[in-house]
């Protein structure tokens, strides 16, 4: 395994441009049968990352977190994920970046990261596997403070229609039944642009109706991680210092839009769900549980 040390966390904007170019190259390579079929055996690393106080405040205000000096788990994702993203835009990455869908995310927070702490990020791709509608891959990012693992994120992406070797396991998803709501999110038309401003994720599908349409969506869609971060904020202080935060993304939230939500105690932790009250179809489901 090769380790590539990057001088700093790359900006997602530039990565999207590189990703778009890589997508084109990959399409050509696939046609001539020279596309990579395995994941690059590489770890990207950035050392000494620090959060900025104003950036943290803007994030906390947007997702509804208290303005603590501890970085919300979703904010660590914002800071660390571009390192993993850089793996996806490499020429030897086997899936096209454009059209990748974020279908699930799992975070283990072992200890809080404080605003004044510098941390190191290591990221790689793993578990390239067949899916009933394409191929999925896990992008893993690990965050360490003073050598100790404090945060680990696994973002699962789906490349629709891309068929690599193997057959998918026929796991059947539970049918979603809308529960009694505990709240509602009214997401304004600019919710995508506002989360883009704090996350750096300027994917055109989140920015304007025109750019979203160009990529096949009827309207702008909300960032999945924005909705997941709001759910985590709604869980509140009961989550404690060490927890797992898992989410599955189902139907995208079209903006402007209203998401009916339930965030309620369930077993050892808290379950959350967001759905469309009219159609009864889910946007996201997930849990926050104490980490033992």
């Amino acid at each position: 395994m090769t380790t590539v040390v990057l001088p700093s966390v790359p900006a997602l904007g530039g990565l999207y441009a590189r990703g778009a170019a890589a997508t084109g190259r990959l399409a050509v390579a696939r046609r001539v049968g020279r596309a990579p079929r395995t994941l690059p055996d590489v770890v990207h690393e950035v050392r000494g990352v620090r959060a900025d106080a104003d950036h943290l405040t803007a994030y906390q205000h947007l997702v509804g977190e208290s303005a603590s000096d501890r970085l919300p788990a979703g904010f660590v994702h914002v800071l660390a994920f571009p390192v993993a993203f850089a793996v996806m835009v490499r020429p030897d990455f086997p899936l096209p970046l454009l059209g990748l869908v974020h279908v699930a995310n799992r975070v283990e927070q072992h200890a809080p990261v404080r605003l004044d702490e510098a941390f190191d990020v290591r990221a790689w791709a793993q578990d390239l596997r067949p899916h009933r509608s394409g191929t999925t891959v896990d992008l893993v990012a690990e965050v360490r403070v003073g050598g100790a693992l404090v945060w680990r994120g696994v973002s699962t992406y789906l490349a629709k229609g891309v068929r690599l070797a193997g057959r998918p396991d026929d796991a059947v998803r539970d049918e979603f039944v809308a529960p009694v709501p505990t709240g509602r999110w009214k997401l304004a038309a600019d919710a995508g642009r506002r989360y883009a401003a704090v996350s750096g994720d300027h994917n055109p599908i989140h920015l304007s109706r025109l750019s979203a349409k160009a990529l096949g969506f009827p309207r702008t869609i909300a960032h999945g991680m924005f909705t997941a971060a709001r759910a985590l904020a709604d869980v509140g202080a009961v989550r404690g210092d060490a927890f797992t935060w898992t989410v599955e993304f189902h139907k995208p939230v079209l903006l402007p839009g209203t998401v009916t939500v339930r965030v309620a105690p369930d077993g050892p932790g808290t379950a959350f769900a967001g759905w469309d009250a009219r159609s009864g179809r889910p946007h996201l489901t997930g849990r926050v549980d104490p980490l033992r």
Binding site: G64, V180, P181, T182, G183, R184, W185, K186, D234, V235, G236, V238, T260, R262, V263, A264, P265, T270, A277
Partner: protein, 445 residues
């Protein structure tokens, strides 16, 4: 200079004594956009104070402290109560402070001042509350506000241009105050609709409670009960929301307003929900000595109070169900049961708020699992419930409701004790936004 050698002072331990309700005064409550459409919170609170001053001969009097508040308050009204005192006929040397506990503001003002009187810190106090939805403060958007503040801190022309360039046309849209719960995005009515469905409260039961509220308030007005509790203001002589001629038929015709998206039939209408209202109320409090010195008749004693809160954010309990938990704790501490109460005043935020409260107290399962009792907490005799009507008929200018209830029930307690010569007690229960609830026991003095 060398300090003079003297013994350190030995403060005497505070002793508690009775805190009395001596009277009250409010202005009639008006429907939003009605007679008080252009009156401010300060206008209405001052009017209610001046009515109290006139009724009890307090012109130029230095009251120990005035505590009052408003739920919807402009930031310029940071000293709303003191400013109202300065505009009233009370002595300008009367201190004041603002209180805010959502819809429990008025009752919390009473409890706080009563405690100071009991501790001997005050001889007299005036508790109050006021709210206007007609003259509600409107704020600029957060982005415009931050931009304006950053602009005021920018030092160079370049910085100012950069800050100003952040503004977008839609940032200029004003932000009206919302009654949605900040953490859930649901309005109070939508929250109560969930609780109503959870407890299976019927439309008929809600309409019957609303009808009783109107009939009882109308009867009290007709009997002159409010003649020494209310001072007309701006041409309003009775509560503007009161519909003396309403009927179950009329109430049954109204379309549901909340709970439309639920699996169960929607039951909450404009008729069995409290409308937005403008108004103000005050309550005069004092010690026995102060009452005697001012030739005032003690009406009731503020015996005890208990607050509670519920986790409605995570759906554990309904938004307005906190009093369900406060009252059992309050009564247990005082060695009382529901049967020991001659009057039960439960603020009618919605008819179903009262009915879900009663249902929870009557539930064996809820009593055991949530209240930690052996069974159901108890049943409230409907003949003792909101005997002169409540918020469904009178309206509910948020912070003014506590004062309305305390003054009304104190007069009733006094009347009853005069007639029967035995101890007479009342429970006052007010639910509030944020999953809050405040409850108190009053006893005829």
């Amino acid at each position: 200079m060398a300090p003079s050698p003297r013994k350190p002072p030995t403060p005497t331990a505070p002793t508690t004594r009775r805190a009395l309700v001596l009277g009250g005064n409010r202005i009639p409550f008006a429907r939003a956009g009605g007679a008080y459409a252009h009156a401010s919170n300060q206008d209405m609170l001052t009017a209610a104070l001046d009515g109290l001053v006139a009724r009890y001969g307090l012109q130029g009097e230095r009251i120990g402290e005035v505590a009052a508040g408003a739920v919807l308050k402009h930031s310029r009204d940071f000293n709303l109560t003191r400013e109202s005192v300065l505009g009233s006929a009370l002595s300008p040397t009367t201190p004041a402070y603002d209180v805010q506990q959502a819809c429990a503001t008025g009752l919390e003002s009473v409890v706080g001042l009563a405690n100071k009187i009991r501790l001997g810190q005050l001889e007299s106090g005036i508790a109050g509350g006021v709210d206007t939805t007609s003259d509600a403060p409107i704020a600029v958007s957060d982005r415009l506000r931050r931009t304006l503040l950053d602009l005021s801190r920018a030092k160079t022309v370049g910085q100012r241009v950069a800050v100003a360039a952040r503004l977008r046309p839609k940032d200029l849209a004003p932000a009206a105050p919302r009654t949605d719960e900040p953490r859930t995005g649901l309005s109070m009515g939508e929250h109560q609709a969930l609780t109503t469905a959870q407890w299976g409260i019927t439309r008929e039961a809600q309409d019957e409670l609303a009808l009783a509220s109107h009939q009882r308030l109308a009867a009290a007005w007709d009997a002159g009960f409010f003649d020494d509790l209310v001072t007309p203001f701006r041409g309003q002589t009775r509560d503007g929301n009161l519909r003396a001629d309403t009927s179950l038929e009329k109430l049954a015709k109204l379309r549901p307003a909340f709970g439309l998206g639920l699996d169960t039939p929607a039951t909450m209408t404009a008729g069995n929900s409290t409308p937005l209202t403008d108004g103000a109320s005050t309550v005069l409090l004092g010690s026995d000595e102060w009452a005697a010195a001012h030739d005032l008749t003690p009406l009731a004693v503020v015996v005890d109070a208990e607050a509670a809160a519920v986790d409605f954010v995570h759906g554990v309990d309904g938004l307005l169900m906190a009093p369900v938990f406060a009252v059992p704790r309050l009564l247990a501490r005082n060695g009382l049961t529901l049967d020991d109460l001659d009057y039960v005043e439960i603020h009618e935020a919605f008819a179903s708020t009262v009915l879900t409260t009663l249902a929870a107290w009557e539930s064996d399962q809820f009593g055991k699992e949530r209240l930690g009792l052996d069974g159901a907490f108890g049943t409230v005799d409907r003949a003792r419930l909101n005997v002169h009507g409540s918020s469904l008929a009178a309206g509910h200018p948020f912070a003014a409701t506590g004062g309305r209830i305390v003054a009304t029930v104190s007069k009733e307690l006094h009347r009853r004790k005069q007639a029967e010569g035995r101890p007479v007690r009342a429970l006052v229960s007010v639910c509030a936004a944020g999953g809050l609830g405040l409850t108190a026991i009053l006893e005829a003095a």
